[in-house]
């Protein structure tokens, strides 16, 4: 009771007081940061998943520890701010070409990662910055890749759509092509027998690609340990799901493959569903399909304002009612897993980290011209690569 009162008072004071640069004394008194006041964990009801060819689904409650909550919050906030910084840099023309931003979908990549091991594998399409981060790439390396500098995670040679990390296979530009690749990775998991699985992601637009159905068939036939994950953010570029798919029940599109439809804005829902699916795959039962219902705040890419095929009201509604970071924040604060102040401190730290990363990304030099010819072949003695004319040659090392 006392905790709730303190929390409530702190929220009330935080509003107008924050603008006036707070009265430190009253803040300390009312909202004390005594860690003994925080709960170590809390249990939450989560939305029941729609099931396809499954008798039982993921649990309808989830336990969140304080530690987990803080970690998820920090990670989601980092991705959010990183994507917003990318938006800024793109508008300043420091980032070129394609830039597909992930803000709004953070609960998906963070929730997925929370349910698997670093030894598991993951592959996605081009809206990949969040995954590059959760799979272990530093923010500065992601931003420097976007700005095309030598300190980028692919030395500036890949760009937005081609970032890789250990057990993270990108970052793929051709819509749907990553799905057979993911099943191939799952085949390797099964072949090596190390109890690893592969998460193979695609969007609602890609869900209509033929090669995905070819892959469903083989994955089911060979019982590959593959979780097919459709990140349904309602729009494939400018085409809404109703205009693209005869059946928008993406979790059922695997036909003979069991599927679940998950609230992709709730990180706990994503986590529990993924744990459930991972267990299914690891037990040798074959693939599973997860549809994550999520939303992107930005347009398809930076060249799309994102309001010609959807209304500003819709975007605003999702932001105010379903924002994944706000949902987690409210849960944590309302259940004494954290306080508004503590989370604000994390925000400040995250902002700082992003600023420093952006600073690096804008000051790091571009890759040297010599890099142009490299990485054509692996484990090959150095050879020459032709430039735009017969007199321009570049050395190539793998």
């Amino acid at each position: 009771m006392r905790k709730m009162l303190l929390a409530a008072l702190s929220r009330v004071l935080q509003g107008p007081a924050a603008a006036a640069a707070a009265r430190p004394v009253s803040r300390v008194v009312v909202a004390s940061r005594n860690y003994a006041d925080f709960a170590s964990e809390a249990t939450f009801d989560i939305k029941k998943c729609d099931l396809h060819r499954l008798e039982e689904g993921p649990p309808v409650t989830a336990v969140l520890t304080r530690e987990e909550g803080l970690h998820y919050y920090r990670t989601m906030q980092t991705i959010r701010r990183m994507e917003l910084k990318s938006d800024q840099l793109y508008k300043q023309k420091i980032i070129r070409g394609f830039c597909h931003l992930y803000d709004g979908q953070e609960a998906c990549c963070v929730g997925l990662e929370a349910a698997i091991n670093p030894t598991d594998h993951l592959i996605t399409a081009y809206r990949a910055h969040g995954y590059a981060y959760t799979r272990g790439t530093a923010v500065r390396e992601i931003l420097a890749e976007l700005t095309g500098r030598k300190g980028g995670c692919a030395k500036g040679k890949g760009g937005s759509m081609h970032m890789y990390a250990h057990n993270f296979y990108g970052g793929n530009g051709i819509v749907g092509a990553q799905v057979p690749l993911g099943a191939g990775i799952a085949l390797a998991c099964k072949y090596f027998g190390k109890d690893e699985i592969c998460l193979t992601l695609y969007g609602d637009g890609a869900a209509n690609q033929g090669q995905i159905f070819e892959t469903y068939n083989m994955a089911a036939l060979w019982k590959l340990p593959c979780i097919f994950i459709c990140e349904n953010n309602r729009y494939g570029m400018g085409t809404s799901v109703e205009r693209a798919a005869a059946s928008t029940d993406y979790y059922k599109r695997g036909d003979y493959i069991p599927g679940i439809r998950v609230d992709g804005m709730d990180i706990l829902c994503v986590r529990e569903a993924t744990k459930f699916a991972a267990e299914h795959c690891r037990s040798g039962k074959g693939p599973m399909l997860m549809e994550l219902q999520t939303y992107r705040y930005h347009g398809h890419s930076m060249s799309d304002p994102g309001i010609s095929y959807r209304t500003r009201e819709e975007i605003q509604e999702v932001r105010s009612k379903s924002d994944p970071i706000t949902l987690l924040k409210d849960r944590m604060v309302n259940n004494s897993l954290s306080s508004v102040e503590e989370l604000k401190e994390i925000d400040v730290e995250v902002r700082k980290e992003i600023e420093e990363a952006a600073q690096f990304a804008t000051t790091d030099p571009e890759p040297p011209l010599e890099e142009l010819g490299n990485h054509i072949y692996k484990n090959e003695p150095p050879f020459e690569v032709r430039g735009p004319s017969q007199w321009i040659k570049y050395k190539s090392v793998g």
Binding site: Y164, P180, A183, L187, Y191, F192, E214, H375, E380, G398
Partner: protein, 366 residues
């Protein structure tokens, strides 16, 4: 005793598979003599290469349509499923784009797949996976993600199979940086290049030829060895000559040698170069030859525009050999039409021995 009896039975049953039978015969030492050169068909050479590489490295596996229980559409993988089982020899459904992507993904995750296309015509369905996923990933990832996969199968014209089943893809795949593209002619080429391709850490496209599968070639002791490799990126001089350089790949190499055998009677000595590798192309060998002979003819089965011969001519123009040409370089190619069915039409859509002889005389002005 049982082993020897088994070998004898296999020998008797083998029949047309002379090469395989004789190889067993020699191995089991029935005749008790040291191994010598043997006649081995291209098919058997490929089969041996697959067998040896599967045995050598656990990560190697073969997938494709009919490769397992059918023993391969063209029997290249005969006996392998029986020996290695479902895990290593995988029959796929008819889903080129899907299973090619699966092969590429498996390679990214540390396996060494051999992906068979029943013919390379069907690889067009999967060409995005070959070029964009396999060919470019090492570069895009700045070296982080290698893709050690082999794509193999029959390429180019067969006999009477019609336009959709007769296309040559040497120029298509040879165009793309990041891929290696090899094109064997003889059994030695087939065995050595397939083994080298499997051991290569890069995506390799191996363009075989269906009409060559049944052709026997002599394979020396050295070539029979389990460690014999043909280096990728190096051409072979099949016949030394002084008057004209004939550069070719795959089946056309045989036609060049036949033409050379006819021309020698008229005092013309042709140097015949077997490219063996389309990409990276061994231009140096061609240049050295042209410097010697001063005349160049390229021979291929693919279409003329933007083809292998076109590339060779352009490269010769750019290099030292240009100054040694006594006549413009000449290309012999497939006719610039989709392949017709009727025998007389089909025959005239590919460079024949008589066309090579004609071109040599034209170029030498005799």
């Amino acid at each position: 005793m049982a082993a020897a009896a088994g070998a004898l039975r296999r020998l008797v049953r083998c029949g047309p598979q002379q090469g395989l039978g004789r190889r067993l015969q020699l191995r089991s030492g029935i005749h008790g003599s040291a191994p010598a050169a043997v006649q081995v068909t291209v098919r058997d050479a490929l089969n041996q290469a697959l067998d040896e590489e599967l045995e050598r490295d656990e990560r190697v596996f073969l997938l494709g349509e009919e490769v397992a229980q059918y023993d391969g559409a063209y029997k290249i993988s005969r006996g392998l499923w029986k020996k290695y089982g479902d895990k290593r020899i995988i029959d796929t459904p008819i889903s080129e784009m899907g299973f090619t992507g699966i092969a590429v993904g498996a390679a990214m995750a540390g396996l060494r797949p051999i992906c068979e296309f029943m013919t390379f015509n069907f690889s067009m369905q999967a060409i995005d996976q070959v070029i964009n996923s396999a060919g470019k990933t090492l570069y895009m990832s700045a070296g982080m993600v290698p893709v050690p996969v082999v794509f193999r199968g029959p390429n180019g014209a067969s006999a009477g199979v019609g336009a959709q089943h007769s296309q040559c893809f040497a120029a298509w795949y040879g165009h793309c940086p990041g891929l290696k593209v090899v094109s064997p002619w003889s059994s030695e080429d087939a065995k050595g290049l397939l083994k080298a391709s499997v051991r290569d850490d890069n995506p390799v496209v191996m363009l075989e030829n269906e009409l060559m599968y049944g052709v026997p070639f002599e394979m020396s002791e050295e070539v029979q060895s389990k460690d014999f490799l043909v280096p990728i990126g190096k051409a072979k001089i099949e016949r030394q000559g002084t008057h004209v350089t004939l550069v070719s790949h795959s089946r056309s190499v045989g036609h060049c040698l036949e033409a050379a055998a006819v021309l020698v009677k008229e005092g013309v000595e042709c140097e015949v170069i077997n490219l063996r590798t389309i990409r990276p192309m061994d231009v140096e060998s061609i240049e050295a030859s042209v410097v010697k002979t001063n005349h160049l003819i390229t021979v291929e089965g693919g279409w003329p525009q933007f083809g292998v011969g076109a590339e060779i001519c352009a490269r010769i123009m750019e290099g030292p050999a240009f100054n040694y040409l006594d006549a413009p370089a000449v290309r012999l190619t497939g006719a610039d039409v989709p392949m017709p069915y009727a025998k007389i039409l089909e025959e005239n859509c590919l460079p024949q021995v008589k066309d090579i002889i004609f071109a040599v005389k034209k170029v030498l002005n005799i």
